[in-house]
Symmetry: C2
Subunit: 172 residues, 2 copies
DNA sequence: AAAAATAGTTAATTATATTAACTATTAACG
DNA sequence: CGTTAATAGTTAATATAATTAACTATTTTT
């Protein structure tokens, strides 16, 4: 019998909520022929300051595929595929880096910028609706919580590995 | 230029965090030949009271596949596949419902129960580690927040649809 | 100058899920 | 009642989203 715990409830709810958000996102963005992943790439190229990636990493130049792979936590090969759809649709463009010829910088096209801008109000509306009913201080604490969890997952990986090890030992 | 907003930061962080958790989960549960999804089914059959599904729905009898499909937000056909692995591994068993011959009730086997119990401490350890540094009241608010978001996504679907519509209109 | 690392791509493959069609059973209701 | 509709589960075919491995080109390290 597993006991009730607020901590596990939180983790499970985060999981559930993200799952739901992705389903809804795929449904919505399908209307413009995109997936949630491709949409996230557009938001990255629009330099959306609310993306966790931009809070962790400083960047001055336009993003490249390997940075997107890093942020979305997928392989570069996968990003190549995701990007090719956006290129075909004329929403983004690739430029060669002027100093390092391995690198290709990605930018939104005029059409890409227009799409992001036009859909911004409805995206913002959904987000506001979802998060209403809590005050600023609560929301701040909430964000801090999420960021603290995330940095534990990213930076203190060794500590997590020791937990993983427990599961392995148990499997013998 | 998209503006900084705490609300969007929260939504993005939830997304990012769940993504990371799933990656880690898949990595860990791979060691026992399972995926995160299959592991979630085990947790459902163990009646883990922290699963959002059990907070929404009352249930007295053992779960059936269609309820799992509902909770994981996937098709029944997918559940059939996920379950067949667990059946093969001898972690769960299917029973015919005594009153409704369409239904099949799912239960953990002795081995399934043992696996869940043995891994419980390490799972709990990770969760405690992730959520440490916040007090009970903060954690409570956090959970309320997540549950409020979720119920908006689930129950007040019409309101969300009007937002979706905005995106469609914009696409013309 | 050689070796290692980084960036991106391609092709083959794997994993994960869906859709559609089907059987069996039960519930709804005119 | 008996017909229709709804529910539960499965199967086969397919779609999708991602990975791995091998490769080229370029830059960095030593």
């Amino acid at each position: 019998m597993i006991e009730k715990s607020i901590e596990e409830s939180i983790v499970m709810s985060i999981f559930d909520l993200a799952n739901q958000l992705k389903k809804i996102g795929d449904e919505v963005y399908q209307k413009v022929g995109l997936t949630t992943q491709q949409w996230l790439i557009l938001l990255h190229l629009a330099n959306n300051p609310n993306l966790p990636f931009f809070k962790r990493e400083k960047h001055d130049k336009a993003l490249m595929a390997s940075e997107l792979a890093d942020s979305l936590n997928v392989t570069r090969a996968n990003i190549t595929n995701l990007i090719s759809v956006l290129l075909d649709k004329g929403l983004i463009k690739q430029y060669e880096d002027e100093f390092d010829r391995r690198k290709k910088r990605l930018r939104l096209t005029k059409e890409g910028i227009a799409l992001v801008n036009r859909t911004q109000p409805s995206r913002f509306g959904v987000i506001k609706y979802l998060t209403e009913g809590f005050n600023e201080s609560e929301k701040k604490t909430f964000l801090l919580f999420l960021e603290a969890c995330m940095s534990k997952l990213i930076n203190e990986d060794e500590k997590l590995k020791s937990f993983h090890q427990l599961l392995v030992d148990v499997n013998d």
